[in-house]
């Protein structure tokens, strides 16, 4: 055997040795990250009530999740799946483990940010607190193939012990926002876990976006574990949202159009020399857009002085964001192309209508159902004409008078006995009256799909 045949082997080895520091973590570094960050990792326990959207059946169970403390006074980030359309979570308790000792505090859920599938909680304590927390590096990005370490908590059987795992960035998405995809599987206790780069900086947390099936309106890429980089939630840490309970009126602006991008072949079809813009596909009745006379087929080329050159489907989201960030009531100039001619309009933006998940509900204990207002988005989703007024049944209590009368979720109640029900206030007023009057039965005029009919209901007073 000659010495030559050893040479390539030796070369390989030396490369491997060098890359040891370049492509993975050193044990010492992981230990350091673990020691400094794991005290800010908490076990969050809660009770969750999930409503089956079809049957209205409710299941209650206890759960736990990882919460990450981001402020000395106790502000925590956790998985946004706690706040979904058909899920109610409560009884929050956060447990820290500091120097082997456990400290537990009650917490309240804050209003969910509308741009990120992350929930925020505030600790409740009568005395001022000084708790261990994580500081993020907001200027550090991640690159393709870069290794990361993630801290998490193992299950109850392993005594909620803190743990660390390595992973790698397998994809970097730049639109509609910077998102990093992780290559490995994210174990249960690693969702919302802090993500550390090789320099030991905490660059973000892990999470999953909501899928449409989960009632998600977020950029839907559910299924792939993501890294939410710190710059995405920095503002929510600096000025945390209010409590969920005090539902605040949305202050976002609204134009009332659905659009699609003016792609190259669309521009060719309409003989528009330059592609890019937003084709108005739908105008919502009674919206600011309808008021100013915008019609389907108009092409938005500028909004409030900003040229609109949308080409990709995802560009529509950027426009939505642009409209949202205006002040409701403000006047904006919109430049349109209509039949090839340029046209300038001044529209007065309205308040963005409330989404179904923020809709007011009323629980009628006597009839055994929960009804809610018909919000604009439900009206669009269910394709209800403006002439359909009433309240929509959200849940029917099993075994209740409402269930006996064959009332099902989705049914629209338009009158009760002689009282016309146009909205939730009408319903509450009627319910109040029935509570005193205690009629043996109530006749409902309802709508199911496209058809109307009558139902008789025997309340149990």
């Amino acid at each position: 055997m000659s010495i030559k045949s050893f040479l390539p082997f030796a070369l390989c080895l030396s490369v491997l040795l060098f890359s040891g520091s370049g492509f993975s973590f050193e044990q010492e570094m992981l230990q350091r990250a673990y020691d400094t960050i794991s005290p800010a990792l908490c076990v969050l326990t809660f009770t969750q009530e999930t409503t089956d959207p079809r049957s209205g059946e409710q299941i209650r169970q206890n759960g736990f999740a990882v919460a990450l403390n981001v402020s000395a006074e106790g502000l925590l980030l956790t998985n946004g799946h706690l706040q979904r359309d058909n899920v109610q979570s409560f009884n929050f308790r956060v447990t820290f483990r500091i120097d082997g000792k456990e400290q537990s505090y009650p917490a309240v859920l804050l209003k969910k940010p509308d741009d990120l599938n992350v929930s925020l909680l505030r600790l409740q304590s009568e005395t001022p607190l000084t708790l261990p927390y994580v500081r993020f590096s907001t200027d550090a990005g991640l690159s393709l193939g870069e290794p990361v370490a993630i801290l998490g908590i193992m299950g109850e059987t392993l005594d909620f012990n803190r743990a660390i795992q390595e992973d790698r960035i397998i994809s970097v998405l730049d639109a509609p926002r910077s998102t990093y995809c992780l290559g490995g599987q994210l174990k249960m206790g690693f969702v919302t876990g802090p993500v550390i780069n090789r320099r030991g900086q905490v660059v973000g947390i892990t999470g999953f976006d909501l899928a449409v099936a989960e009632g998600g309106e977020f950029f839907s890429r559910s299924g792939v574990p993501l890294v939410y980089q710190a710059s995405l939630f920095e503002k929510h840490i600096a000025s945390p949202p209010d409590q969920t309970q005090e539902s605040v009126e949305a202050e976002e602006a609204w134009l009332g159009v659905f659009t699609q991008p003016l792609k190259e072949e669309f521009a060719r079809y309409w003989n528009i020399p330059e592609a890019g813009g937003l084709i108005v596909s739908t105008v919502i009745p009674d919206s600011p857009a309808a008021a100013v006379g915008i019609v389907p087929g108009d092409i938005i080329r500028a909004f409030d002085g900003h040229p609109i050159r949308a080409i990709h489907d995802r560009d529509v989201l950027a426009f939505t964001q642009m409209v949202k960030e205006k002040a409701p009531g403000s006047e904006v100039e919109i430049t349109l192309l209509r039949n090839g001619e340029e046209l300038a309009l001044t529209a007065t933006l309205g308040h963005r209508p409330r989404a179904a998940q923020d809709a007011d509900e009323y629980e009628d204990e006597h009839l055994g159902m929960v009804v809610r207002e018909i919000t604009r988005d439900l009206r669009i989703l269910l394709n209800l004409g403006e002439e359909v007024q009433g309240v929509i049944v959200r849940r029917v209590v099993s075994g209740s008078a409402a269930q006996a009368a064959r009332i099902q979720p989705g049914l629209i109640i338009m009158s009760m006995n002689s009282a016309t029900i146009r909205d939730l206030d009408d319903y509450k007023e009627a319910a109040q009256f029935f509570k005193q009057d205690k009629p043996d039965e109530i006749t409902l005029f309802v709508r199911a799909g496209a058809q109307t009919g009558f139902l008789r209901l025997r309340p149990r007073w």
């Binding site: 699609q260 079809y269 087929g297 009206r379 394709n383 799909g449 496209a450 109307t452 009919g453 009558f454």
Partner: protein, 467 residues
Amino acid sequence: MMPHTHVPLSVRLRHGFSYLLLLSAVVLAGGCASLSGNTQDRVLAARNRVAPALVHIRPVKEVFVSGKRTEVLTVGSGFIISADGYIVTNEHVAGESSEVWCILSDNTEHEARVVGVDPYTDVAVLKIEADRPFPYVRWGDSDAIEAGQMVLAMGSPHGLARSVSLGIISVRDRYLENASGMSSPYNNWIQTDAAINPGNSGGPLVNLKGDVVGINARMLSGAENLGFAIPANIARQVVTQIIDHGSVRRSALGLVFQEMTSKTDDPSARGVVIADVAPLSASYEAGVRPGDILIRLGNRPMHARHEEELPAVRKAVADLPVGEPVTLVLERGGEEMSFSVVTEEESAYKGRNAEFSEWGFTLVELTPDLARRAQLPGHTGVLVSGCLPGGLAASSGLTPGDIILKLDDTPVASLSDFMNLYKSVQENRKALTMLFVQKGALTRFVLIDQTNSKSSILDKEVLDHVD
């Protein structure tokens, strides 16, 4: 309430014999010892009376699946009703078929002409020709049947011709709610426990006199011995109209009825509740509103305390002459009011289908019911029923459920409108065509770029240059 699944009984032939293995495992216990000799004779006589007129039907049905028109071979049952060769079966057996083959009891095979179909009652009439008289059945009086009475179901379950099963009438007037458009609005159903399986569709339900009292047409899936037949008296009227006019013409008032118990328990309350009034209908224009109680239609008193009585009310409306005024006497807030309403013709039960192979999609005509669900004023537009995966329509973003409102700038009012526009697009080899479509409450533009579909155009060009 448990949802009904009314399964039509026709069956694809290629699945017809797969269950034979199962059959061999079934042990017939006890024989028919419970039948007295007299009953046995009557069963035999009834079977023998009908058997010569029993027909095994093999239609080649046109189906539109995944944006493509295809043909499938199915199997059903039927029976001859006259010496000159009229055959009765179900609409869901013989409707929308390109060929219908009938195999008679003597094993002769005849290609039948479809005389007419009535999807509302699921009745179809076929005609076969021969130079000799055919054996035929005798109709019975379905109003005279009783629950508990013995009946035979005859036909081709799972494609097995000449099958007979025995049972009783379980309920003589079962009301089936119109779930998934599978139920006739104008009649109740005869429910029987005589074994009925896919393939029995269109076959006769026979009493022990050997008279046909019903046409077997439905079964409840996942249940046992819950079969349903169209009453003979309803079927006979429909058959007569199809033979005389080729179709059944009915009147409509745009009203949906509900039984009186939906509003009151008072047994003395007469009439039928008006649950819904179609927008733009003559009744709506005349001022009829949901909640009104219809007490007389012309001179005929109307009454439906329970839902089983609703089909008779609907039939009374349908039987009115089309396009003539009728007086509705309604009760509203304790007062009687009269309205004169001109009847409209009841619209088609289902729309016509068409395939557009160059774009790879299929369309179906909008029925008023579909149009109403889509919140369309009037009945304009055509519904995309399927898009072929990989086809031009699918890759351009057209999806099943879209309603096409415009092609380029021309409104599409009907399927024939669209067919004409499409034809000219193809003839002119137009590169870009814009569709304006609606889905739910949202509208959008879909651009079809035919320059992308190189293969079909290339083929044409190659052919053009062949001398």
